[in-house]
Amino acid sequence: MSSVKIELRKDQIEKIHETCEQFGNSEGELINILHRVQGTFGYLPAEVQEVIAEKLNIPVARVYGVVTFYSYFTMTPKGEFPISICTGTACYVRGAEKVLGEFKKELQIEVGETTADGKFSLSCLRCVGACGLAPVVLVGDKTYGRVAPDDVKEIIGEYQS
């Protein structure tokens, strides 16, 4: 179940309908529709999936099946400052796991979650092509290299003002 409960506004529903129509209300275009709608909303809450299912005349269980199959799709909104920790091989062996643990502890959230104030979200990714800087952390578009667990507090602090 979605952790966030929202009620969609009329114009938001219309926007989703519009997207579905652009793809001919075709079930075969479900992935494209989800992709586009996530682009608009930032994520795919249950309510949005339901509107899409109704419009395409397919069970919402099928939409949910697709959303949960592809890691690109997310049901929780990303934070204002999305934090990504690289857990690719190079970063991993240089201690990414410990850095990740420190972020979890400081932010009190798990991977895939967003802080209650909507400021930070936590995710893992595999290799940003900067293995020389391992372990690497991304906050939004900014890259931090050779991050040690002790640096975590400071990094978060940069965005807390």
Binding site: M1, S2, K5, E7, A46, E47, Q49, E50, I58, P59, V60, A61, R62, V63, Y64, G65, T68, F69
Partner: protein
């Protein structure tokens, strides 16, 4: 038809182009093992995702092993189904499937009926290498009024998904997540109870493992039978007698009506009655309602809702309440036979024998899982006490009989008790697709025309096609009848009604393939649809053997109306035998 020549395990065979390797092998009596594959031929239901990989075979010239269930034959193909490579691969696949499967076979509800267990036996699996390192799935248990989902036991064969989506078009279940966490579940992993599930139980009927099973109420029945303060009354649905024998090794299609009655008496029920009696009662009420609507319609009344739809099937009722709530005024208001029985047993019969309502327990034996939910619906309770207390399936009855050390096969034939055990052939055929409408036709024809039927059998209403239509001549008035079994077929008729294109006067709908004989609570058919045909044949045989074959001629039905209800559709009949429907269309934000 273009034919193709192939060599399979050294046999030269000729098969139609497009045939799968799996099907071709059957021609030379080679039964390739398969888990996810399912083909209910006559019913046009097929599941072959090629997912389990148990059915892999070696095809000469191909680098990889091929799943035989989804690989079509080609001219000159040379196939080996039992080479060392195949056997090793198959064993590895099986070991991987078993590695995260719970090993509680001894206490599993599916034990003895589990396709996975049978496969492990067949492949001679004695050890699961790496078991000690294997991570086990810990999916939560989901219990609804009818069905239990224990997804740790799901092997992702997706048969349930095929039934729920392709055949039933209910869309409650879908494969979700990926890899180790992949299971079949409702949207947002909500409980089945909150999903559009109709409890038809067809997912349970095809699940190869213990992942989907019925809620077991046998313990409650035993407790009631052992409570000296309670008068325990049992009713048995028509389809049960045509299938119960299978649980005791009898041939599909063996009627065990008399033996079942004797077994129920041995189990300790105070009164052994028949849902068929209530089926006759349903015909009186539904038939009267139909004729009322028909007469108004033919007189040019534009307000009247046509066609009338049958309402005996609780899976079907759930379906239109969830998916077509805007049509909820079209089905007959007649309660299902199960509920009519409970209502009459706890009023008319309880008064007759001087037992208070609270001291009577009504147990129903049903081929159905939706009945478990139906009897818990609030509108079928009086002061919080349900008309039908406990509903158990044919399979659960078999367990009760076995636990009581009774040998059903050797039982002598017993007779149902009176008055609620007397029924006609019309009541019996409720158990198969087309039966309810045939029973209604027998009675409606005679009342409408005032003439006696020359021929009681309406062959044009019978058969196994998912969608059927027939015309019956009511003394010059043509009555057009539609029949659907399987909710996907029902959906087509409902769409017609919604768009104002329906040409029918009356429509019978049953949720399960073949009607109740193929219900979710019946002995498992393990993919063999011919079993359903055999059960249907048995139902019609029972009808032919009945002295009385028209509901309105049942003397105890006549007596019930004379002594208690007045006439069909009377105020009292309305209070006890009719119901109303709800809009249950579910939206996420309401959950």
């Amino acid at each position: 038809m273009k034919m193709v020549n192939i060599t399979l395990d050294g046999n030269h065979i000729e098969v139609p182009a497009g045939t799968t390797i799996y099907e071709s092998a059957k021609q030379v009596h080679i039964d390739i093992p398969a888990l996810c594959y399912m083909d209910l031929k006559d019913l046009n239901i097929r599941n072959r995702p090629g997912g389990c990989r148990i059915c892999v075979v070696e095809v000469e010239g191909r680098r990889n092993l091929a799943p035989s269930c989804s690989t079509a034959v080609e001219e000159g193909m040379v196939v080996k189904t039992n080479s060392v490579r195949v056997i090793n691969a198959r064993r590895t696949v099986m070991e991987l499937i078993l590695s995260d499967h719970p090993k509680d076979c001894l206490t599993c509800a599916k034990s003895g009926q589990c396709d996975l267990q049978q496969m492990a036996i067949r492949l001679g699996i004695r050890d699961i290498p790496g078991q000690e390192y294997a991570e086990m799935s810990t999916y939560r248990l989901d219990t609804s009024p009818s069905i239990i989902r224990e997804l740790d036991k799901c092997i992702m064969c997706r048969r349930c998904e095929t039934m729920c989506n392709d055949f039933q078009t209910v869309g409650a279940l879908h494969a979700i997540n990926r890899g180790f966490y992949a299971v079949v579940a409702p949207a947002f992993e909500m409980n089945l109870e909150h999903s559009p599930c109709t409890y038809c139980g067809q997912c349970v009927a095809v699940c190869p493992t213990g992942a989907l099973t019925e809620v077991d109420h046998t313990g409650k029945v035993i407790a009631a039978l052992n409570d000296p303060a309670k008068t325990v009354v049992v009713q048995t649905a028509p389809a049960v007698r045509a299938a119960l024998g299978e649980e005791f090794g009898m041939k599909p299609g063996t009627l065990v009506t008399g033996k079942m009655v004797t077994a129920l008496r041995h189990l300790g029920f105070n009164y052994v009655f028949d849902t068929d009696f209530a089926a006759d009662l349903t015909i009186m009420e539904e038939g009267t309602e139909f004729l009322g609507r028909l007469t108004r319609f033919l007189d040019g009344d534009t307000e009247v809702q046509m066609p009338i739809l049958t309402s005996c099937c609780p899976g079907w009722v759930n379906f239109f309440e969830h998916h077509f709530p805007e049509l909820k005024d079209i089905p007959s208001t007649a309660r299902s036979p199960q509920q009519m029985f409970g209502s009459v047993a706890k009023s008319y019969f309880a008064e007759k024998i001087g037992v208070e309502r609270k001291d009577m327990v009504v147990v129903s034996i049903m081929p159905c899982l939706a009945k478990k939910y139906e009897c818990q619906r609030e509108e079928f309770m009086v002061d919080g006490v349900p008309d039908v207390d406990i509903s158990i399936s044919t399979r659960e009855l078999a367990h009760l009989i076995k636990q009581a050390n009774l040998d059903l096969v050797e039982m002598t034939d017993g007779d149902f008790d009176l008055p609620l055990g007397e029924s006609t052939g019309a009541g019996v055929i409720f158990g198969t697709t087309g039966g309810v409408i045939e029973a209604a036709t027998r009675t409606a024809y005679e009342i409408y025309t005032g003439k006696t039927l020359e021929k009681i059998d309406f062959e044009q209403l019978r058969g196994m096609d998912g969608l059927r239509s027939a015309t019956v001549d009511f003394g010059g008035q043509e009555i057009r009848i539609g029949i659907a079994h399987g909710l996907g077929n029902a959906r087509k008729l409902l769409e017609e009604i919604k768009s104002g294109k329906s040409q029918y006067h009356a429509i019978e709908i049953m949720a399960c393939p073949g009607g109740c004989i193929g219900g979710g609570g019946q002995p498992l058919h393990h993919g063999d649809a011919s079993i359903l045909q055999a059960r249907a044949k048995a139902i019609y045989e029972e009808d032919r053997n009945k002295k009385i074959r028209k509901s309105h001629e049942n003397p105890f039905i006549q007596q019930l109306y004379a002594d208690y209800l007045g006439e069909p559709f009377s105020e009292k009949a309305h209070a006890l035998l009719h119901t109303h429907y709800f809009d249950r269309r579910k939206r996420v934000f309401q959950i």
